[in-house]
Assembly symmetry: C2
């Protein structure tokens, strides 16, 4: 029988918090955060003791129109430096690079020329060879790397096993358990975390967790995974993120016992920056359509459309989802 790692009152020095506000939150407003917002978020994360701040995506400007998105979709070096300077701090900076949407050979330079510390490669289970190619490139360039293996709630056990083996044998530093559709319950998260940890121990990789809030379980699932030994924990301020959003920084930092974490700066930032964002019409968080796609283990696409069109006939929306499957 596996044991939980640590207890509720202990703190585990291996646990690290990653703020994904600009990246996952950026999906809610096409990455159009003001410089003031980004600078305040950076300072807040430093004051709160956050370990990693994800600055956005490293999307290819050949594939995505720079006019249609804010700069955190692309994370050009000069744009990041305008916010964080040289980042001579304890906090590391991360970017996410989607397999197939990142021109990594051109857009990711040597680490010595960049303020970025970590590249997080996001891929579906079928794209692992491409992800590993990117990981090898980024490791050679000097970066810390993760692979965020998406949509595993749709994968079979044996697929996950061989994915973990391939990633284990790669130079990646951290493998992420990602609940893309917000469909997993804590008992499932516990079993998957143990599976990932087994690979992590064998291949000397850390394990991270990224949860979605479709069923109001993002925080619960994050601390469930942490309790078994996941050590890199994703959150966003006020839970901002695609659809139902993510694990809220204020819940996670309020829970963790390591005295290096501080809640008050997060509370200040919510008042000063997140409430105005909502007032401007940026929409995220738990809502019935997200619960329904989460429960059915589906991409939130249809739910996002449902909410955008202000359709509140949830029963009909549910029926349509069932017909599609």
């Amino acid at each position: 029988m596996q044991q939980r790692k640590g207890s509720l009152l202990s703190f585990r020095p291996d646990i690290k918090v990653l703020d994904a506000t600009l990246r996952d939150g950026g999906i809610c407003n096409d990455f159009r955060f003001s410089d003031e917002f980004a600078v305040a978020l950076y300072k807040m994360n430093l004051a709160a003791g956050v370990d990693y701040m994800e600055m956005g995506y490293k999307a290819s400007e050949k594939m995505f129109d720079r006019e249609k998105f804010g700069k955190y979709k692309f994370c050009r070096e000069e744009d990041l430096r305008a916010i964080v300077g040289e980042n001579k701090t304890q906090m590391k900076l991360a970017v996410m690079a989607d397999v197939g949407r990142t021109d990594f050979r051109n857009d990711i330079s040597e680490k010595k020329n960049s303020v970025i510390d970590m590249v997080r490669v996001a891929c579906y289970i079928t794209e692992i060879p491409s992800a590993i190619e990117m990981v090898e490139y980024c490791k050679k360039a000097g970066y810390e790397t993760c692979v965020n293996l998406m949509a595993i709630s749709k994968a079979r056990d044996e697929e996950i096993d061989s994915a973990l083996q391939l990633l284990g044998e790669s130079p990646v530093d951290c493998i992420y358990l990602v609940d893309s559709y917000g469909s997993l319950y804590p008992e499932q998260i516990a079993k998957l975390t143990l599976k990932y940890l087994e690979a992590g121990e064998k291949y000397k990789k850390t394990i991270g967790v990224h949860a979605h809030n479709n069923q109001q379980l993002a925080f619960g699932n994050t601390i469930e995974a942490a309790s078994w030994g996941a050590s890199l924990l994703d959150c966003t301020v006020n839970g901002i993120g695609r659809g139902a959003g993510n694990c809220s920084s204020e819940l996670l930092l309020g829970f963790l016992k390591n005295p290096k974490y501080h809640l008050p700066p997060v509370l200040r930032f919510i008042t000063d920056y997140m409430l105005p964002l909502r007032e401007q019409g940026v929409v995220w968080g738990y809502d019935i359509p997200y619960l329904l796609t989460g429960r059915l283990n589906s991409h939130p696409r249809a739910a996002i459309e449902c909410i955008k069109s202000k359709n509140t006939d949830y029963e009909a929306f549910h029926r349509a989802l069932l017909e599609k499957d």
Copy 2:
């Protein structure tokens, strides 16, 4: 090592769902639900397969002004019958009776004269003798009974142990694990559930769970308790309830595998009745002040005031909470 009861795909015939919308939700609007709302809720619960519907409080009309509250604060027999008729259905009806606020000898008549099936006695740990007096009275009058032991997150282990012994030796049918302040994490819920179940097995009592959503854990904690063996599960539609509210019916009924439960009627009811309630200005659900009282294991009173006064200076509110303690 204790084992979880059943698995995610199994269904446990011992699990029963209790809808507390009129009762806990009533705290949000002084119990002023229209007859149309109550009748639709009753029909919806029947269609959804809900096992118990709590109709409100049985508060003393000598202590509370009938003009200041809707009828679900008092649950007079004739008022209930106007909604449910003779209730010739599979679904049982419950009322909550607060120790010290219920004139039970005058206001609770013989079961044979009432449509009520179950009396839920709510008490603090120091009030157990009074609760047992009410339980004995209600059992003798022919009712099924529960004791909802509140605020146990503030109680010491030995107090809970002796409370469980006293309740175990009483004629009560069900003992509720109540997370009054929304302060408990799933690991704590698991340990407490096992403690309650141990008493439940010894004294032949069922165990129920009533969770609050201050830290977005109401649903997570409810299914955590259920997974270890709690069998009476409280929920409210859309999570309506005091402060951060409760475990949402739509999450719980969407999770349970027993084919007698049906989600679509709940979705219909949300569209037709809960969205209009929010539009009328009734306020409930997760918000930062509730997270803060929950995290500090405090009564949500201060958070309710904070939200009512539209104070969004969460950092200052947090500081004031810390000073009080």
